[in-house]
């Protein structure tokens, strides 16, 4: 049981970090960023290039990946989403744009980095082994701690910084925030860049453990959407709770239900459908938006 809980906690921390970026973008701009998974993959390949091909330390790869993704996010918001939101009142315009960006990034990743699975050397060697009751490699513990530290830093930033307060105001009421002098364009761009940067951070963190390949983008986006459905779209605490719940469900399901075949995600999807029928706004979301 200790092992199952530890696996769930580890999965939950990384999932929560993935969901945070997605929910931040949704809360600020009402945009469902279908390209979130592809951004995660792109960042993994950037980190791989820096660490393996250029031979630089992992921390450099992590920082470069985060910066590249933040710049990419900022540019995508400024030159793609902003004009579309300005010209179109229909929500599906941004959804289609996001889907288009996902396909574009898939093609770009194939062109730049190829189709092969890539990985970087372990950041920390060794395995924590508590009498075979709880086994966890040190690099996973490190990634889990880093993911939790990033989540806490993000919450503190959103709570206490000027930019964080402005973005929360935007998320609550875009018009009211504008009337109070918040530069909507600027903070939307910063928010999108931060969302993309979070995808970049988690992609770079996980490339040292799971590796990265072209096909990971779509499934990652699906899991991120699952998490924000559970927790409530556009709510930061919801994304975190959704991430940990999904991680724990996956860990428990894979261990307890292993003798029944691959039924874990079938049950997760079925449970989610029932849950959404009862509480469509998710655990932390408000029915009115």
């Amino acid at each position: 049981m200790e092992q199952i809980l530890a696996n769930g906690l580890y999965l939950g921390a990384q999932y929560a970090l993935i969901a945070l970026g997605l929910t931040l973008i949704f809360s600020l701009m009402n945009v469902l960023n279908f390209a979130h998974g592809q951004m995660y993959v792109f960042s993994g390949f950037v980190c791989y290039t820096v660490v393996v091909q250029l031979g630089l330390p992992f921390i450099v790869g992590l920082v470069v990946a985060a910066v590249v993704l933040a710049v990419m996010g900022g540019l995508i918001e400024k030159f793609l989403f902003r004009p579309v939101i300005r010209r179109s009142k229909r929500d599906e315009s941004t959804m289609l744009l996001a889907a288009g960006i996902a396909f574009f990034l898939d093609a770009l990743i194939l062109l730049l980095f190829g189709e092969k699975q890539r990985g970087i050397p372990k950041v920390v060697n060794g395995v924590f082994n508590w009498d075979f009751r709880l086994i966890m490699p040190y690099d996973r513990i490190l990634i889990c701690v880093l993911a939790i530290a990033i989540i806490v830093s993000f919450i503190l930033f959103m709570q206490y910084s000027k930019a964080g307060r402005a973005m929360r105001a935007l998320a609550q009421d875009r018009m009211a925030a504008q009337l109070m002098g918040v530069d909507v364009d600027r903070y939307s761009m910063i928010g999108f860049a931060m969302g993309a940067m979070l995808a970049g951070l988690v992609g770079a963190l996980l490339v040292s453990i799971t590796g990265v390949n072209l096909g990971m983008g779509g499934p990652t986006s699906i899991k991120a959407f699952l998490m924000i459905m559970i927790g409530g779209a556009g709510v930061i605490s919801g994304a975190i709770i959704g991430g940990f719940i999904l991680g724990m469900m996956e860990s428990v399901g894979l261990s307890v239900l292993s003798s029944y075949g691959d039924v874990t995600y079938l049950l997760i999807f079925a449970s989610l459908m029932i849950f959404l029928a009862i509480r469509p706004q998710g655990l932390m979301g408000k029915p009115w938006g």
Partner: protein, 342 residues
């Protein structure tokens, strides 16, 4: 195949009958989608192509069968369902060694040489890996091995395999078989198994990529047993070595499994040379299969190109390539043993 075709064209083409031809490869990416595979096969038929190498997965290979049979196309899938190669089917020729041929050879070797008694299987929840798992389980039981776990599967997009492997390793196998594992998943599965304290053997019946294993699992992948390409340094002729050089120059990075794929083109060309009427009539090709024999340019000695598969399929519908079983060690594959298939 493109590397070999470009090489043959550079040498002046291929003489079939009284005419010398340049080889043109018509490429189509089916993206492992059966619908796209059918569309691809129909496009081949429209373009007058009679010899197709692929598809590479079970679903795709089964889906194109009606088109191939109606349109007079011989195809060389890299997938293993026996019904594609057994009567009444006659248009498909297996382009490599099947898992139900390599699996028993590997298990028998490990039972005899490493004392393996208990085997566990884990597979992705997809048709190819699942069918490979089922035939692997059958082969292991036939050899008298105890199968201690064969129900655990995983999604192909799994990023953390520790929860997947935990119940498998609790069954304490001597050998963990990663049935039909993709090169993308293999390093993570190996790494998770080793990090969870598993010290037994790990094997698969599919081809793997040494550089991907090195990057994804490092030294934890040492000892991993897989099916290699159709060549080893001891088997490779000068032609095979030159093929590897040309392939590397053309595509930047050589994959050991590529030397399996080069055989299909060679078999097609040499069979057409033996019976030029088969250029436009695949029934003529089928007639030539049973008696066909030609020198194998990729192996040293007097090795021959010939069709095999009678014991597995009841007819000759498989190209004869060496079964090379390898063990990964420090970034490269080392030959464990070489066998032949009929």
């Amino acid at each position: 195949m493109e590397a070999r075709a470009a090489w043959l064209n550079e040498l002046g083409g291929v003489q079939i009958g009284d005419t010398t031809y340049d080889i043109q490869i018509v490429a189509f990416d089916d993206q492992k989608d059966p619908k796209r595979a059918i569309a691809g096969m129909e496009r081949m038929a429209q373009e007058g192509v009679h010899y197709v190498v692929g598809p590479n997965v079970d679903d795709g290979a089964a889906a194109v069968r009606p088109v191939a049979e109606q349109q007079g196309i011989m195809y060389f899938p890299y997938s293993f369902p026996k019904e594609l190669f057994s009567p009444p089917a006659s248009n498909a020729i297996l382009g490599m060694v099947a898992n139900y041929q390599s699996g028993p050879a590997i298990y028998a070797y490990l039972k005899e040489n490493k004392g393996v008694q208990k085997v566990a299987f884990v597979a992705a929840n997809e048709s190819d890996p699942l069918s490979q798992r089922d035939s692997g389980v059958e082969a292991a039981k036939a050899l008298g091995l105890e199968v201690v776990s064969d129900k655990v599967t995983y999604q192909v997009d799994t990023t953390d395999f520790s929860p997947v492997l935990l119940p498998v390793l609790q069954s304490r196998p001597d050998l963990l078989v990663l049935s039909g594992v993709s090169p993308a998943n293999a390093p993570q599965l190996i790494r998770s198994a080793r990090e969870l304290g598993y010290e037994g053997l790990i094997s698969t019946e599919t081809g793997q990529d040494a550089s991907v294993l090195a990057e994804g699992a490092g030294e934890l992948a040492n000892g991993f047993i897989s099916v290699g390409g159709a060549s080893t340094p001891e088997l490779a002729s000068d032609t095979m070595r030159e093929f590897v050089d040309r392939y590397t120059k053309m595509f930047g990075e050589y994959n050991d499994e590529s030397n399996t794929k080069v055989y299909a083109l060679e078999y097609i060309i040499e069979t057409l040379k033996a019976n030029p009427a088969a250029l436009t009539d695949v029934e003529e090709y089928k007639k030539t299969i049973d008696t066909f024999e030609a020198p194998n340019p990729f192996m040293v000695g007097d090795a021959k190109l010939r069709y095999v598969g009678r014991s597995s399929f009841g007819q000759k519908r498989q190209v004869s390539v060496p079964l090379v079983v390898t063990e990964y060690k420090d970034g490269a594959f080392e030959t464990l043993f070489v066998a032949e298939v009929d």
